[in-house]
Symmetry: C2
Subunit: 265 residues, 2 copies
């Protein structure tokens, strides 16, 4: 049963792309077959995997009904296929606004190949526009990376409200399955308080009919580790670059938690 | 001579608001009179200063030609006045698009009060839309906070190209006066390489007629310091919260560098 997961947070620089890359790589190391989609005009996924952007990008997939996903995907690693982005994707939001099924463009392109993968992971830009809405319509699950900082909590509650509003009409089966704590500084009072607040928010939502009803704080938090910031400058995942470092250990365990949380949902 | 400075970077979470607040507070401690403008619909400046958003916000200033800035500004600290934002500002980008002088709305509102301040500091949202363009039209200087990470360099060169394009028609006197290195991890190879690359980029632009011709990497870098992330949860600047910590020392010295770099420009 393929799991389609959107990695989402409208706040910038919180660890979406780093999580997309290293979660995908960790799952592939567990033998899973992964398709990764770059929906961000910043085009970071190609850089992180050390591959050239493909001639056919996710932009072509969205803009042109005739282009199949098999034209766009490239092999990024053993068991990881990648659909790259391009800078022109930034224009897509205004270009796509007039298409009849503008929310479902990605979902339609994914449908024929879903059975080939265990996981499809979609990296979203830091916004709640049409690209992210395509991810929300195509996915069944959301994972929200966030920092354990004070202002991050406000951003997350606004994000959840927006998801609830969008999802109602668009994709009622969508659920927020987990939050990933990124760049976590464990021994700080601030981080502990933010985690407590967040856990409290989820505990109080268990009885409500909301998309985050069963949302968990995925274990473990991903510790701040400069190796995770260095790896993309070499076009490497953390498992290529420094497989024994704290960042690699954390993402490996996170992948195990992601696999395990399917059982409960 | 009032210096109007926009704090800009389209990337999210790089330290714009933290720099706006603590640079303003450090300059005020040096006896300067400061006006701070919150142009971000996330409305973080009110939170950082521990003040309620005012009944009249920057949104009203932009939308309504009749509202003077004296209606909106509130006293945030001794020598710091603040114009707060509101969530509805997010709608402003589409609402303002049809106004005849949509780029100059902020500049016009600032003009009558400039003489009351030594510095006007404008906190921008993480985007290059109409709000940020209003900041670019109103300012004479840009300060760009950035992280010393690999992908940050790419973001900065794209930002500079966009500034050059916008500035040509909009505000030919605008210059990029400095980059602030935020959340800097000094002893890492990555940070050193990013700083070298950035310095190299500026050195090679000294002879060209570009807005960053005289841009400097402002000294010192702002070290990563959890106190800077804790202060806003108490509605305090770093000088209220923990005046002897590394974050406060760094911003104090940064303010001295900002004052000094006027002499050369
Ligand atoms: N655990 C970590 N430790 C250290 N650095 C990290 C960690 N996670 C991410 N980073 C670095 O922080 C920066 C932001 O991370 P990333 O690009 O993954 O965020 P993002 O949410 O995808 O950003 P955007 O909103 O711009 O797409 C990058 O330079 C990345 O290398
Ligand atoms: N030097 C620092 N050390 C530790 N934490 C920091 C530092 N500078 C900023 N932070 C924290 O990092 C996060 C992002 O900073 P900030 O809000 O200033 O960035 P921003 O560029 O204004 O973000 P946005 O694009 O969302 O407006 C905040 O939680 C802030 O408290
Ligand atoms: Mg990203
Ligand atoms: Mg900000």
């Amino acid at each position: 049963m393929t799991r389609v997961i959107a990695i989402l947070n409208q706040k910038g620089g919180v660890g979406k792309t780093t999580t997309t890359v290293n979660l995908a790589a960790a799952l592939a190391e567990m033998g899973k077959r992964i398709l990764v989609i770059d929906l961000d005009p910043q085009t970071h996924l190609g850089l992180h995997f050390g591959v050239e952007d493909a001639a056919t990008s996710v932009y072509d997939l969205l803009i042109d009904d005739e282009v199949p996903i098999t034209d766009a995907r490239i092999k990024a690693r053993k068991r990881i296929d990648l659909v790259t982005s391009e800078v022109d994707l930034a224009a897509a939001e205004s270009e796509l606004v007039s298409k009849t099924d503008r929310h479902d463009l990605l979902a339609k392109k994914l449908a024929p190949v879903l059975h080939e993968y265990d996981f499809v992971i979609i990296d979203c830009p830091p916004s709640l526009g049409l690209l992210t809405i395509n991810a929300l319509a195509a996915a069944e699950e959301l994972i929200v990376p966030m920092q354990t900082h004070f202002l991050a909590l406000q951003g997350v509650s606004r994000l959840f409200e927006t998801v609830q509003m969008l999802v109602g009409g668009l994709n009622p089966k969508l659920r927020v399955s987990g939050v990933v704590l990124c760049m976590h500084e464990r021994n700080t009072k601030l981080a502990r308080e933010v985690v407590d607040d967040l856990q409290g928010f989820f505990d109080s939502s268990r009885e409500n009919d909301v998309p985050w009803k069963n949302c968990v704080i995925l274990d473990p938090p991903i510790r701040r580790n400069v190796k995770l910031a260095e790896a993309p400058s070499f076009g490497q995942t953390i498992f290529d670059y420094e497989p024994d470092c704290a960042g690699a250990q954390d993402y490996k365990k996170l992948a195990e938690s992601v696999v395990a949380c399917e059982m409960q949902n």
